[in-house]
Subunit: 234 residues, 2 copies
DNA sequence: CAGTGGTCTAGACCACCAG
DNA sequence: TGGTGGTCTAGACCACTGC
């Protein structure tokens, strides 16, 4: 089954492997030949095969274990890659004019309950920020954010009416770890008014918390106006 | 600035690069040294540096262009990786007992409007499937699915009351391309009843369409019961 | 223990593209 | 057109783990 010319690029190897999985030449659960044999068959170096297979394993289509070898995944857990851009860029990328309204900022120590929720110790100084992002003048998303001032003291001097906290933090506050969640919630009266919709409208809610080392940087709740759809391709 | 011992693993190189970005030694927008220089500084092979930087570029933290070199991304678009497992495995992974109720199946030609929405040609035979997935006996997610019978004829003979279409398709219907979307919607009366919630409750909706080559395989709308949270880490 | 994948190396050629 | 990243190669050693 070897090819005369050989397959000398990792993309080519990947395509051929995908073709065989697709054609059920290699069925889910089946072991596939080892890297050395595949390299010989394809007429390329083992490293080339390795790169092709490693990527497929990362996407969940193959399962690899030393000594046990490589198998076609029985229950492929597909990975979808979600882009998390700056809100301004997301709006501009959709071809709309970006607008921003800072609703309020407040310094306050983290409450016991709130602090725990944020992963901050009670009493740590926090900055609470509430803002609205607009697309073509219409409400796009409501941002409700807490920033750990111990982790990002410089934000106290930033002009958050000129640049959104979202953008300021992306530019100035590095993080090493983040947690993202998506859920749905009914709009309460206040949010409904801000987003120019009706009470109890279904909203897509995104929550994120980021850490730098073991220190919480910020936690935010984004409430998207009705009609928003998060989207990706695999 | 070179290290006596050297950094001989790509993870080590990546950590050091991240440290410098974090410490603002290399600021957003700044160019960083080229691969040859970094390899010399770290005392490792260029390929090692390449792998470390390539991964960082894939996650959006660096921008790389031939000749122009590598820069710290000015507006890092973070990528979150979302796992899309089989529904049964997701429920079992949460420690709940999995249950499944097939509500109905129906063969019918794709309507003009529906067919277009599915990316199918009108008149192509489709299988409509409606089912409920349960966690510990409670409704977890409602599945409303169309399957292109021209692409997956074998599903007509599957016993979809014993294995969910979700799982059958993952095992038997390969796809080359998929489209995933998330949004929020108010429950209508029927869905509310099925999910054991109240009308107009906010539901997280996931829609997916998959193709094999240029042929639509299936399109599905998943309505998650209130309280569901999709979650990932970066 | 031995076979497999994981990784590093030193060198090479090439594709791209900014200057 | 030259510098940069993108990739391939042949070989090597190592880490893990099934047998």
């Amino acid at each position: 089954m070897s090819r005369a010319g050989g397959i000398a690029s990792w993309q080519g190897v990947q395509e051929e492997v995908l073709r065989r999985i697709n054609a059920r030449i290699w069925k889910p659960g089946d072991p596939i030949p080892n890297e050395v044999d595949l390299a010989a068959e394809f007429g390329c170096a083992r490293a080339t095969v390795n790169r092709a297979l490693r990527e497929l394993a990362e996407t969940g289509l193959l399962e690899r274990r030393r000594k046990a070898g490589t198998r076609v995944a029985l229950h492929p857990v597909r990975k979808a890659i979600l882009d998390i851009p700056i809100i301004r860029l997301e709006i501009e990328g959709r071809g709309h004019a970006y607008g921003y309204r800072l609703l309020r900022t407040a310094r306050r120590p983290a409450s016991a309950a709130g602090g725990a929720a944020l992963g901050m110790r009670p009493g740590q100084p926090t900055l609470r920020i509430e803002a609205l992002h607009l697309a073509d003048g219409r409400p796009f998303v409501h941002e409700d954010r807490w920033v750990n001032l111990a982790a990002v003291p410089q934000i106290a001097t930033a002009d958050l009416s000129a640049i959104s906290a979202n953008e300021w933090l992306v530019r100035h506050a590095p993080f090493t770890r983040g947690d993202f969640g998506f859920e749905a919630a009914n709009a309460d009266r206040r949010i409904a008014g801000l987003l120019d919709t009706h009470e109890s409208a279904a909203l897509l809610i995104a929550t994120r918390t980021t850490w730098n080392g073991d220190q919480t940087v910020t936690t935010v709740r984004l409430s998207f106006a009705p009609g928003y759809r998060m989207h990706t391709t695999i």
